[in-house]
Symmetry: C2
Subunit: 364 residues, 2 copies
């Protein structure tokens, strides 16, 4: 068996018994039933993932920022020079980017993974050198990468998840850096959801109308060239994906195999999650959508994954910023399930309890 095959085999459904325990426990806490809305659902999901109630606190946490470059950049899909990928990687490693500020504020570690930057990077602390190749090829000319390279990127992501979990992390977050990677994300989402490229291609970090129109046409040409089968997700990500998309998909699968929850960042993560879902449908039980990106592909991708985003603040940055913003929400959800007193324990009357004060009719 390969690492990928072993990992896919280990991705299993959520534990229904632990989830039932969590629902029952939520209903005994000193609050109106259901009054914590989506946070109650998250706590139940994480109990199902852990196989026990309450689940462990999702901390410490680490965000893995997968960085790669894109041959399709040559098609003029973005106003940013490709060199910005390596410049921003240096910025992450110097602690100067948004992902660093957000991670410091919410208490998460930042780990930068060079899975495909089109330049040689100096070894520095915080950088994992895992380059599969120096950027992809142009998807409008041929496959972005070879199938074997996509498999290596997937397995790289699995290994990063395993290493971060072995280091003690109990919550993983996705991050990404790669100029032009929203073009690859749009192509992946179009293939894996069946949406038209115009519906799922966005303005990325900010492109004008002419560039957006070109970007949609680039995605259309790539899809017409490759005639992809959504039932072959490795083939799909090799043809039109990025190295960071493939590695992120592996990261999600690796976390799922180890029953460690993952917070997804924006559209790059959502596209990668579709690849992972096509390989192992139960991976979605591991995933929490951190936020809803402005990118139009994010919504159909999250819908297909069955995930509701926790934060919706018009973000379109990437790097892991949206996942980091959602981290405290997930931590509060689990802490409430773990620590809040029950009606019985706190001596608070429960309107829904049989024979309790409300059943006596005193209120009416």
């Amino acid at each position: 068996m390969t690492l990928l095959a072993d990992t896919l085999e280990a991705v299993r459904p959520l534990d229904a018994s632990a989830m039932a325990d969590a629902r029952e426990r939520q209903d005994r806490l000193t609050k109106p039933r259901g009054s914590l809305g989506v946070l109650e659902d998250i706590s139940v999901q994480l109990a199902g993932l852990a196989g026990r109630c309450p689940p462990p606190m999702p901390e410490p946490a680490a965000v893995a920022v997968f960085a790669g470059d894109h041959g399709v950049h040559a098609q003029g899909v973005t106003p940013w020079p490709q060199e910005v990928t390596v410049q921003m990687v240096a910025n992450f490693l110097a602690g100067g980017a948004v992902v660093n500020a957000a991670a410091v504020q919410v208490g998460a570690e930042v780990c930068v993974v060079d899975v495909g930057v089109a330049a040689a990077l100096e070894p520095v602390p915080g950088l994992l050198p895992r380059k599969v190749r120096a950027g992809t090829d142009d998807m409008t000319d041929g496959p972005a990468m070879a199938r074997d390279e996509a498999l290596r990127a997937l397995e790289t992501g699995i290994e990063v998840a395993r290493d971060l979990a072995n280091a003690g992390n109990r919550m993983l977050l996705t991050g990404d850096m790669g100029i032009a990677n929203t073009t690859a994300a749009a192509a992946l989402i179009a293939v894996l959801t069946g949406a038209d490229p115009a519906e799922v291609t966005g303005r990325g970090t900010g492109v004008d109308d002419a560039t957006w129109t070109r970007k949609v046409e680039v995605v259309r040409r790539a899809l017409a060239l490759h005639q992809l089968d959504p039932a072959d997700p490795v083939g799909v990500v090799a043809a039109v994906g990025g190295l960071e998309h493939a590695a992120t998909a592996g990261f999600l699968l690796g976390a799922a195999a180890l029953r460690v929850p993952v917070l997804l960042d924006g559209v790059t993560a959502a596209a990668a999650a579709l690849v992972a879902q096509a390989l192992a449908p139960d991976v979605t039980g591991t995933l929490v959508a951190g936020h809803l990106s402005v990118e139009p592909g994010a919504r159909p991708a999250l819908d297909r994954l069955g995930l509701r985003p926790l934060v919706d603040l018009d973000l379109r940055l990437g790097e892991g910023s949206g996942a980091l913003l959602a981290l405290p929400l997930v931590q509060v959800a689990v802490r409430v399930l773990r620590d809040v007193s029950s009606f019985d324990g706190a001596g608070v009357a429960d309107k829904d309890a049989a024979g309790g004060p409300s059943a006596s009719g005193r209120v009416q």
Copy 2:
């Protein structure tokens, strides 16, 4: 001058110069312009409030949970017995409620203020004894409280804000506890926004259809009885408000006078903010809406206040829970403005800079 009059006098507009500095600084940070969406707006607002850029970090933070009882409870507007107010206050003080778990997770202090609980409370650490009266009267029979009592509750809130700011807090959060207080909130929002009671009356902590219908009729009867003038917010809150609504309104005004930002929790806070806005329109510059409550009055109230909620997760708990969830988001917003490197400083190419790499046309 009274404390209230002095406070209203001290509520001033945001500083336009500091806001312009913050916008300009945001545009130089190493991220696409505008890519942090609403978080950029929050950072600009807080710079305007502080009168400098970057503004101070909004920490440490404290949530003030104003507790009161409601004479309108006698009208059968909730299935919960009135005693749950005092039971939950005891739960807060024992550290067993959702507000405690959330505050521990996000790093905020919890301060419980008895401004109107209908029972004598034992002195314990963490409880501020500021009872104006032991619960309100039934708004369908006459005014909930005397005008003088409403003024005392407002000034109590001002003093709590001042004391928490003097203790070093740089961010304040609202919280509330009071069985039946969504009935008072609905009445306040109906008067101060002009909405029909049926549009702004909700199911609170969970009422059935018959109780909801009764609750709407109770609000209608109260409004018909009092014939209130929205231009007299003290009269409005005295007639149909709660002691926690009046105190929370004062809390917002007190914070505004000291230029300390406040995160609003749910519909109780939104109703109180309308009272504060009617007294001093510039108070809204101090306010950030923590979340959008399920209560239908929340949306029209926030619209009137001009506030966009940061979190929308189907919460309907109160206590300060929704404000606490938003605290890390505000802190990240300010930390980004303060700490992230500029394009120049980090050696990252800026597509929008005159003469920068993109201007050279290399991408196209």
